[in-house]
């Protein structure tokens, strides 16, 4: 059985987003790519269950998510990428400062429970609606909304602590306030 070329092209076209989603779940590029491969194999094997005219991308994300939960989830907290591995795959090498921010953000994201993390990424980055995200995760729309909200406030907490200096008074101001500035 050969796949309809249109379906095959749509699958290929979804690969970049699938990888981005997989990396945010697995936190490791190699494992994420294996997950994407597993997703494509499953999709291929069950291509006849794809309903023409529905959202191919959402269908693939659902398969990826199921594969992640059945096989990859337990390994999520093992061996995250070192600083280098992930950065090395980036097309545009971020500057030192933003690379640091990047890493801080990924670390913060990794502290979220997986259900909150996946909901946040689906809605906040993949561009799915709450309804689509609920379909992908197999839960109610209200559940997705509350997961996204909890993810956002938890991240805000983590980042407020990490970046207190960014938002606090600058050094001169602090010196004035604490009376340590002897000019």
């Amino acid at each position: 059985m050969r796949l309809d070329p249109a379906v095959r092209d749509a699958m290929l076209g979804a690969v970049p987003s699938l990888r981005a989603y997989a990396i945010s779940l697995c936190r490791n590029v190699d494992r994420a790519d294996d997950l994407v491969q597993e997703t494509l194999l499953r999709a291929w094997a069950h291509a006849d269950s794809f309903e023409a005219g529905t959202n191919m991308s959402a269908w693939l994300f659902t398969i990826l998510r199921n594969a992640f939960h059945s096989e990859y989830r337990k390994r999520r907290r093992e061996v995250p990428d070192g600083d280098g591995t992930y950065a090395a795959t980036l097309k545009s090498q971020p500057e030192q400062h933003s690379r640091l921010q990047f890493r801080e953000f990924r670390d913060a994201l990794a502290q979220l429970p997986i259900d909150q993390c996946e909901a946040l990424v689906l809605v906040g980055a993949s561009g799915f609606s709450y309804e689509q995200a609920a379909d992908i995760c197999g839960c109610a729309v209200g559940t997705i909304k509350s997961r996204v909200n909890r993810a956002r406030s938890r991240l805000a907490e983590i980042m407020a602590i990490d970046s207190a200096d960014d938002f606090g008074p600058d050094r001169e101001q602090r010196a004035v306030l604490t009376g340590t500035d002897h000019r």
């Binding site: 796949l3 970049p16 987003s17 980055a125 938002f167």
Partner: protein, 86 residues
């Protein structure tokens, strides 16, 4: 260096209450209206979260389709659906 005469009592040297003659800054704002400053901080952080989330995601999306997946689909296409055959 020039030896400046030390004030006898630093408290009487500057009669202005500490900070009142200075422009509002984040610290004072937080002291005077913690709720408002907190809301502003939360907004700023939420914007930052949205930006970083998308930046992280788009960085991967912009890498396009790695050869390994082009190759995989080509092989599947040539080999047919072995799993579904039987």
């Amino acid at each position: 260096m020039i030896e400046e005469p030390k004030p006898e009592d630093p408290a009487t040297e500057d009669p202005r209450p500490n900070g009142l003659d200075r422009p509002m800054n984040a610290q004072l704002e937080r002291q005077l209206d913690p709720e408002k400053a907190e809301a502003k901080l939360t907004r700023e952080i939420q914007i930052k979260i949205g930006q970083q989330l998308r930046a992280m995601y788009m960085n991967v999306v912009d890498q396009g389709v790695p050869d390994r997946f082009v190759e995989l689909l080509r092989r599947l296409d040539e080999g047919g659906d072995k799993k579904g055959e039987e």
